[in-house]
Every structure is written in structure tokens, then in C-alpha cells.
Symmetry: C2
Subunit: 210 residues, 2 copies
């Protein structure tokens, strides 16, 4: 069934509202400091019209976070086979490269996600935590498969993945206040840290301890 004119226009307006909210947050403002009227003004609508799309401000925020999660997931998605076949060192580079590209494209998305991961709104937090846990789980599965395909001892993949995400997000946060060239240095550091991590995991799997 084709989309009617009404449905299309409503959907477009809805997107316009979300886009307006994104614009307002571009300067680094927090989601909770955004006002309904302010968003309405930015999107060229009457304040009351927003109620035709979202029951209240919270629903708008959740929609925004949902779309941010979707874009993060899309950006970090890849073909597993290729990641596994290229070997660990290049896989690390590929992973970080993907993340840096995401950061350049959706800087404000990232800011929003990291900020709201600690926000007051429980629903927001849960949604984001779940998304990040999925990221960790997928990464852990990749690590396991890559190691298995090389016939090595099983490494603590969950821990590696968790640490890897923490390291990348930490680097990402630092990148936000830096120039594009400085970001490259930070990305290299992140690569090195991930390699150390992987190396340590491999040693630990062989029984080596500190």
C-alpha cells in the first residue's frame, strides 16, 4: 500500500522536528536543556504542532536517541568474514577507522549518546546501554571466531571487547575537542592500545600472568 500525501507530509514534518533538535544540540548542548518551543521555532512550526507528532518532550528525546542508536549501529556494521580474514592487526585498524569515520560524520550523535548514557532519564539510559552492550557482544563474537580460525587458545573475548569499546569511546571523547589532524594521532594511539590489549589477551590465554 502506497504512502498517502498526508502520511508523507507528517513523516517529513516529524523528521524536520528531529533535525531541528539536532541543530540546536550541535553546539554541545545537553538534551535536557532543549525546550519544546525552542525546537518548534527552529523547525518553523508552531509550538502546539509538535503535539501532533510527540505526546511530550520525553517522547521526542527518545525518538532522537533511537535514531542516534540506529546510525551508530549502521556505521559500525561490517561483514564479519572480511574482518576475520584480514588478521588481528589490520582488523584493529579497520575497527578504529570505522569509528573515526562515524565520529567525523555524526559527532553530535556521539556526544548525545555519551551524555545521555549518564542522563536522568531511565528509558534513555537503558536504550543506550543496551545498544552499547550489543556492540560489545558482536565484537566479542568476532574476536572469538578470529582466534578460533587461527587455531589458537580461546582468549577472554568479552573482556577484550569491553575494554576495546571503552578505549575507543575514551579516544572519541578526546577527539571531539581536537582538530582533524590531532584526531589522527589519537586514533593511532587507540590502535596501539587495542593491539596491546589483544596481545595481552593472547598471552593470558597461554597462561602467562603478570
Amino acid at each position: 500500500m502506497a504512502e498517502t500525501t498526508r502520511q508523507r507530509q507528517k513523516r517529513q514534518t516529524r523528521e524536520r522536528i528531529l533535525e531541528a533538535a539536532r541543530t540546536l544540540m550541535a553546539g554541545g548542548r545537553g538534551l535536557d536543556s532543549l525546550g519544546l518551543r525552542e525546537v518548534a521555532r527552529e523547525s518553523g512550526l508552531a509550538a502546539t504542532s509538535l503535539y501532533n507528532h510527540f505526546p511530550d518532550m520525553d517522547a521526542l528525546g527518545l525518538a532522537l536517541i533511537d535514531s542516534c542508536c540506529f546510525r551508530l549501529r549502521s556505521a559500525m556494521e561490517y561483514e564479519r568474514r572480511s574482518m576475520i580474514e584480514i588478521g588481528p592487526a589490520r582488523a584493529v585498524k579497520e575497527l578504529v577507522g570505522r569509528f573515526v569515520r562515524y565520529l567525523n560524520d555524526y559527532e553530535n550523535d556521539f556526544r548525545l549518546l555519551v551524555q545521555q548514557r549518564l542522563g536522568s532519564h531511565d528509558r534513555y539510559r537503558m536504550r543506550i546501554q543496551r545498544e552499547l552492550q550489543l556492540l560489545v557482544d558482536e565484537l566479542a563474537e568476532d574476536v572469538r571466531q578470529a582466534v578460533a580460525s587461527q587455531g589458537r587458545e580461546p582468549v577472554p573475548a568479552e573482556q577484550e571487547a569491553e575494554a576495546a569499546i571503552a578505549i575507543m569511546f575514551g579516544a572519541g571523547i578526546s577527539m571531539l575537542d581536537n582538530t582533524v589532524t590531532a584526531r589522527r594521532v589519537l586514533a593511532d594511539h587507540a590502535c596501539l592500545q587495542l593491539e596491546m590489549m589483544a596481545l595481552g589477551g593472547r598471552m593470558m590465554a597461554q597462561g602467562t600472568r603478570l
Copy 2:
């Protein structure tokens, strides 16, 4: 020169204001969603009285962040000699233990710092970034000294320290939404991850690569 009655009362009131702001943020609210009048009400003062202590809301926020930084620094401070002498495995446990204790005592401080690290206010961000960099630097110096005292090859200490802070902060963020017992598990994970990191650094110093 002793503190006069007036000076003492003013200082106490100032602290009362900051404490009120802390209370209001206890539920996880963002700093930018705090109102001057709201803080005044919470601290039992007239709104206008706050101007006797802070020129505007931004100054209040900065004072709050400053005190959070101070408490973080105090909590993570330790005697270097002891850290170096107990060996790497126990040093990791000590470090994480210290951080967990800080988190239990000053949960809202931590939330505030992590949130405002990505906030809109440049001065806030810079102040926090500087504080965290100091944390990284000190940790790196400890790693270097500990390694040197054992007569080992120099490891990439800066990178280890940076990753370590990222890992601990990542774990800390996860801990905020968990019970005390679940936090212990997360702390153990963080320890394991830090050990992997240290092990990988040592291997890398010996020339091993992925």
C-alpha cells in the same frame, strides 16, 4: 590572621549553595538543567542572595566542577612508593579498589564530571580534561618507575595509562546503574582488563607483535 565571623558565615553559605546544587543533581539531572532560583530555594536562600557568592550561574557551575575535580584528585591520590613496591598485579587491584571507593562515595560527582566532559560550556570541559590528563600523566609516571625498578624494558607507559583510565571510567559508568554486588563483578572485570593491558604492554616492549 583569624577568620572573622562574617567571613566564616559567608564561606558556610557558599558551601550550603554548592551542597544544594549537588542535592538537586543527585537524581542524575544535568548541570545545565539546574536553575538559579531552584538552587536558592533548595539552600533556603532568596534567589538574589546567590549573587553575593557567584556572579552568575556559570560561576556556580564552575565552582561545583572545581570541587568535584578536587575530590577526584584527593580520592585517587596515594603514596607512590607503596604502589611501586607491591608489584603490578596488586597495584592494579589497589588502583581499581581506590576508584570503586571513590565511586561509592561520590557517585554524583563522577556523573557530573563525565557528563560535563562533553557539555556545552568550554571552560567546564577544559577544566575536566586537564584534570583527567593529570590523572593519566601521574599513572604513566608510576608505570614507568615501577617497570624501571624491576629492570625491565620500558613499556609504552602513556598508552597504558590512557587505556587504563578509559577502562576504569567505562566500568564506572556501567557501575552507576548496578547494585553494589554487581559492581564488584564489574570491578573484577576491570582488573582483568587492566592486567591484560599491562601484560600486552610488557610483551610489546620485548618486541612481540600481533
